[in-house]
């Protein structure tokens, strides 16, 4: 079926300057519409809302992307959205934690909705209230429909779950009004990405590349019907670079660099950034000639620096988040794949020499700013540092205001609409915390016992954010850096370590079958923690649909006793037929 529609062009360029309302005027607009709705919003025969929360998010952004010394795309602007949640019923049973497949999301008319509802550029008291009015109205009607469907499902089933839908918390007010929106000389950062990308021009072996800069500042205003209020400011900036090429046998090779901070002035120096871009470029070119693994390797593997942190971030940390089973017509369901520890509180999840803390209140570590820090979570609950794993045993999970059986109240971990980790620190008892040299010796000893000629040291693994937002946009769609199996993790930098200490780079490879349970098999860790600042994907989509948020993993090198590392098995695309024009110089 082909559908044709004559449409008029609505070119909506979303930009604007600073609004002129004071913090208090903005909060007042939010309070007034919440109060009016709590007092008067109801349909006869249907329940009134028992809880309403509204959020205004104003985002200021700068972004630049360059290729071989040239700008490709730049943007700068400011956008404002309101997000609204309405609950009907009561704390013990309401419209949430219910999966309604029949809900007609696609029937929405554009301009309707309660999340990411755009507010005019220079909004005033009335334009803000107007959008809140429509958003709350929409959310209320949606909530009542969902609530009645949920009740119908409950009446038809023998439900054993008596966990409340929403937990009560202390009413807090948090006003961070001392911030100032940072204005930057954007041209300077455009020049920066141009200069960094120009470095790659000297290496025509590179097929494609990207260097980008981003600076986002969010002003968040929040009011709920319980009296919780906050104003908080969050800023994020980063420089990312990525390169791709193909080896002579067609295998794709990639590498990337990323550095994130709160404001651009805290990014690494110009010289360090130049050196990082050059390093990933040279590494990729060197790897072009490196030997891939002949066969799958199964044995001890050391994860160093970024690789150790990434491994924790990708495989272990997402399981530290409390996830409520959702009721549906087909019973309770958990849609997330990160649910390994939901019933493990009290059980062992790491070796007994390892402990793990969530430290959102910690702002830096050994002088390095931590990307996941915050003082108050997105539901207005104060953040707290929590020991999640003590001497190998799971103590609790990170939770927002949605309770689960073993975690009945919030510990201030709601980020972008659901519980999420932020700064994670992994500590070891001294006995098992050894120098990198000792780790290597131990690994080689284990290898010898298994008649393995070498052990593998993994130094860098693929970051999911970089993969989906950068590398996929510069690499051909059928470039396979790793197989499509979701459980496999692509390795960017790894070496074979021989007993004589020689390191030999491995081209292409992926880690197979590492699960959260595999971390119990860590046998030694390093004694120099690495601070990894990264963007991680929220477990479930947030109140405003954001997906990537900052996190920090402070983690030593890790020695696993037995991990499978396999060569990428794929039919690779042929290498380029023609030389890169950069080689021709005319």
């Amino acid at each position: 079926m082909i559908k044709f529609v004559l449409v008029v062009l609505l070119l909506l360029l979303k930009f604007y300057d600073l609004g002129s309302m004071s913090h208090q005027e903005i909060l007042q607009a939010l309070r007034d519409e919440v109060k009016r709705s709590m007092d008067s919003l109801f349909i006869e025969t249907l329940p009134k809302p028992y809880y309403i929360e509204v959020q205004l998010k104003v985002t200021n952004s700068y972004r630049a992307y360059a290729f071989l010394g040239n700008l490709v795309d730049t943007s700068q602007g400011r956008q404002a959205f309101v997000n609204v949640n309405v609950r009907v019923g009561d704390y013990s049973l309401d419209n949430t934690n219910f999966l309604d497949f029949s809900f007609p999301f696609f029937m929405r008319f554009s301009g309707e909705g309660s999340n990411r509802r755009q507010v005019p550029k220079d909004f005033d008291y009335f334009s803000l209230r107007r959008e809140l009015w429509l958003a709350i109205d929409f959310a209320y009607k949606e909530a009542t429909q969902k609530y009645s469907k949920k009740l119908a499902v409950i009446k038809n089933r023998l439900i054993k779950d008596t966990i409340p839908d929403f937990s009560k918390v202390e009413v807090n007010k948090f006003y961070d009004t001392n911030y100032k929106i940072v204005k930057i000389d954007f041209t300077k950062y455009c020049d920066l990405v141009k200069d960094l990308s120009r470095i790659i021009r000297n290496y025509p072996e590179i097929d494609n590349s990207s260097v980008s800069f981003e600076f986002l500042q969010d002003e968040n205003y929040y009011v709920n019907s319980e009296g919780i209020e906050y104003i908080k400011y969050e800023s994020f900036t980063g420089v990312e670079a990525a390169v791709t090429l193909q080896s002579n046998d067609g295998m794709p090779v990639t590498n990337f660099f990323s550095s994130y901070a709160d404001v651009p002035s805290n990014l690494p120096s110009y010289d360090s950034l130049r050196s990082a871009v050059k390093q990933i470029t040279l590494h990729s070119i060197a790897l072009k000639e490196a030997k891939p693994l002949d066969d799958s390797y199964s044995g001890p593997i050391i994860f160093e620096g970024q690789a150790a942190g990434e491994l924790f971030a990708q495989v272990f940390a997402p399981n530290l988040v409390a996830q409520r089973m959702l009721l549906s017509d087909q019973g309770f369901q958990n849609l997330s794949r990160f649910n390994a520890f939901q019933t493990k509180i009290g059980g062992r999840v790491l070796p007994e020499f390892l402990s793990l803390r969530s430290i959102p209140l910690k702002k830096d570590y050994n002088g390095i700013k931590l990307l996941g820090s915050y003082e108050i979570d997105d539901e207005g609950v104060p953040a707290r540092n929590i020991t999640l794993v003590e001497k190998g045993y799971l103590k609790t999970l990170l939770a927002g205001r949605t309770p689960i059986k073993r975690v009945s109240t919030s510990n201030g971990s709601n980020r972008e609409g659901s519980a999420m980790f932020s700064n994670i620190e992994i500590n070891s008892s001294k006995k098992y915390s050894q120098s990198n040299q000792k780790l290597r010796e131990k690994a080689l000893q284990l290898a010898k016992q298994r008649d393995l000629p070498f052990v593998i040291v993994v130094k860098k693994i693929m970051n999911q954010n970089i993969m989906s937002t950068v590398i996929q946009s510069i690499a051909p769609i059928d470039f396979k850096f790793f197989s499509r199996d979701q459980a496999n993790i692509a390795v960017i930098e790894a070496v074979r370590l021989y007993p004589n200490g020689r390191e030999e780079p491995i081209r292409g490879g992926e880690l197979k079958g590492i699960t959260p349970q595999s971390f119990k098999d860590i046998i030694l860790v390093g004694n120099k923690p690495y601070v990894l600042n990264i963007l991680v994907s929220t477990i479930s989509s947030g109140i405003d649909g954001s997906r990537w948020i900052g996190a920090s993993i402070i983690c030593p090198d890790l020695l696993f006793e037995d991990v499978e590392f396999k060569p990428v098995e794929s039919d690779f695309q042929k290498p380029s037929y023609l030389k890169n024009p950069l080689m021709l110089q005319n």
Binding site: I2, L6, V8, L9, R36, F67, P120, K121, D137, W548
Partner: protein, 555 residues
């Protein structure tokens, strides 16, 4: 980074900080060098490219939107995109040949954003990298085509995959437009205050938008074309909800090729006042039941009607696809409309009755010079709209291969103009409507004043129907009662039957400028027609929301 996942926002959020000196020759030179290199160096491959076409589109845009008297968004942008059409095989049979399931595949790198500066080597590096991918994909597709041909029965239409055309050379310097966005912001904010006085409006905005596509086309056959395609638009939109939950909306659009051609503040003010009062009347209008009987489609509505039910069916490439119904394939040189009607598609026409036509262009997106196509002459169907994809009996393009950046060109409409030799005054047309109603024993006829567009099914597996979406419809009573505004119906039918029922036309000319969306993306078109009297049309009830209007009053 964080923002990449909201690319859809960024695309509408761009801001150009840099002024670029126009040096089109750098791009043309880069494209020509890469074509030459690929053609030469791949010549000894088993499947060398026999055709390479590059199109670079530089998009300069600016826009501002006002909501209830306040600026919602404002910005400018400049981007540069590359599209590649690379073919292996030969003109008769190449990698683009349709195979089963091939509609699901698309060359992964046929489109790429290019650096916006004039650095020939960097542009060449980007073009080279993208072309490598497209070539590999093309070879893969061609192998599939060869295999498919070996196992399938002979096709009905054995026309070539690509037509041979005379290369064209045409050069325009890139125009840079200095748009006074502040002026438009001021005007829009002034006029959109009118919306604020109407609390029953749930959504209302007015936007000014400007876009110039500067297209540079170079191919391996020797064509070199560069042309500007500017568009200036103002769109006012308002939405409300009737008490029964029906979502109602209206818009007013103004189009011009120049900023000066757009209306002034007082004209916009009148347009918004009219929009608001029309929407208010519609909100209070009664629901209409299903109906079949005579109707008048007023000018603009008639244009859209023709665009939907006729225009899409004469897009030539559909005659090649066995999944398509191919309504007119067997009607060449046969009657499809009354003998007083001509239907012409004329992309060379810039204006009609003093108004700019948005389907105007000099060369199409395959580098073929635009030409006027008389598709229906005195009611007899004569020819299809052709891209470079030949069909039985039509071996060449007539300059209608069109596309949006990022898509492959297919035959698309341009300026559709309905000409009539049986014109009567509008009062007379109305009299004829009433007479026809009386003849059929109907209490009333319908007058379609505004439509928003529509859709049509052209495939074989489903009924070949159309659905035109009216916005403003009146009942015209035969007993002299005043016309009554009604809501809640869609105009439906099948094309050939409906055409046979066109009885007469008015002496007016309605002009609709819009963007038509189909498989090659959104392209600017116009649809121009006199009012039509149709002896029999059918309407069905419109789908509607079951949501009530907002419970609380506007704050």
């Amino acid at each position: 980074m964080k923002n990449r996942i909201i690319k859809y926002c960024l695309l509408i959020f761009l801001f150009a900080h840099f002024a670029y000196s126009a040096d089109e020759n750098v791009i043309i030179s880069a494209l020509k060098k890469e074509i030459e290199r690929f053609t030469k160096e791949l010549s000894s491959e088993q499947y060398p490219p026999y055709y390479i076409g590059y199109q670079v589109t530089e998009v300069q845009s600016a826009g501002v939107t006002s909501v209830f008297g306040r600026t919602s968004s404002k910005g400018t942008s400049f981007s540069r995109f590359l599209d590649i059409d690379l073919r292996v095989g030969n003109y008769q049979l190449d990698n683009t040949h349709r195979t089963e399931g091939s509609f699901l595949t698309r060359s992964s790198f046929s489109f790429r954003q290019l650096p916006i500066e004039h650095d020939e080597l960097a542009i060449r590096a980007a073009v080279w990298n993208a072309t490598e991918q497209v070539y590999k994909e093309a070879v893969k597709q061609y192998r599939n085509v060869l295999t498919s041909r070996a196992v399938k029965v002979k096709e009905e239409d054995t026309s070539a995959d690509f037509s041979i055309e005379i290369p064209s050379k045409y050069f325009e310097k890139r125009n840079f437009y200095n748009v006074d966005l502040d002026k438009w912001e001021r005007i829009l904010n002034n006029v959109s205050k009118i919306f604020s006085d109407n609390k029953w409006l749930l959504e209302a905005h007015i936007s000014f938008s400007f876009k110039n596509d500067y297209k540079i086309f170079v191919n391996s056959e020797g064509s070199e074309i560069s042309q500007n395609q500017p568009q200036f638009r103002i769109v006012a939109f308002a939405r409300t909800k009737a008490e029964d939950g029906m979502v109602l909306y209206l818009n007013r659009t103004f189009f011009s090729f120049s900023e000066e051609g757009l209306p002034d503040e007082s004209t916009l003010r009148k347009a918004i006042l009219d929009l608001v009062s029309s929407l208010k009347a519609l909100k209070d209008a009664p629901l209409m039941d299903t109906y079949s009987g005579p109707a008048i489609l007023a000018g603009e509505a008639a244009g859209v009607f023709f665009h939907e039910i006729f225009g899409h069916r004469v897009e030539g490439h559909r005659m090649k696809d066995p999944r398509e119904a191919q309504t007119f394939k067997s009607f060449i040189n046969k009657r499809v409309l009354p003998d007083f009607i001509n239907v012409v598609f004329d992309p060379t026409r810039m204006k009609l009755n003093g108004l700019d036509l948005s389907g105007y262009y000099k060369y199409d997106d395959e580098g073929v010079e635009a030409s006027s196509v008389v598709s229906v002459d005195s009611g007899i169907f004569r020819r299809f709209l052709m891209s470079r994809s030949p069909i039985e009996g039509f071996k060449n393009s007539n300059g209608h291969g069109r596309k949006q950046v990022g898509f492959r060109a297919v035959s698309r409409q341009s300026n559709l103009i309905v000409e009539s030799r049986r014109q009567v005054s509008l009062p007379k047309l109305r009299e004829m409507l009433i007479e026809e109603c009386k003849r059929q024993g109907k209490e009333y006829g319908l007058l379609f004043v505004e439509v928003e567009g529509g859709f049509t099914f052209t495939g074989r597996t489903i009924p070949n129907a159309f659905n035109v979406l009216p916005l403003i419809v009146y009942k015209v009573y035969v007993d002299g009662r005043p016309d009554e505004l009604v809501r809640g119906v869609d105009l439906i039918g099948t094309p050939l039957t409906t055409f046979a029922n066109v009885v007469a036309t008015g002496d007016d000319m309605g002009i609709f400028n819009g963007i038509c969306g189909a498989e090659s993306g959104g392209v600017p078109v116009s649809a121009c027609s006199p009012s039509l009297l149709v002896s029999l049309i059918e309407v069905q009830k419109k789908a509607k929301s079951e949501e009530k209007p907002p419970i609380l009053s506007s704050p």
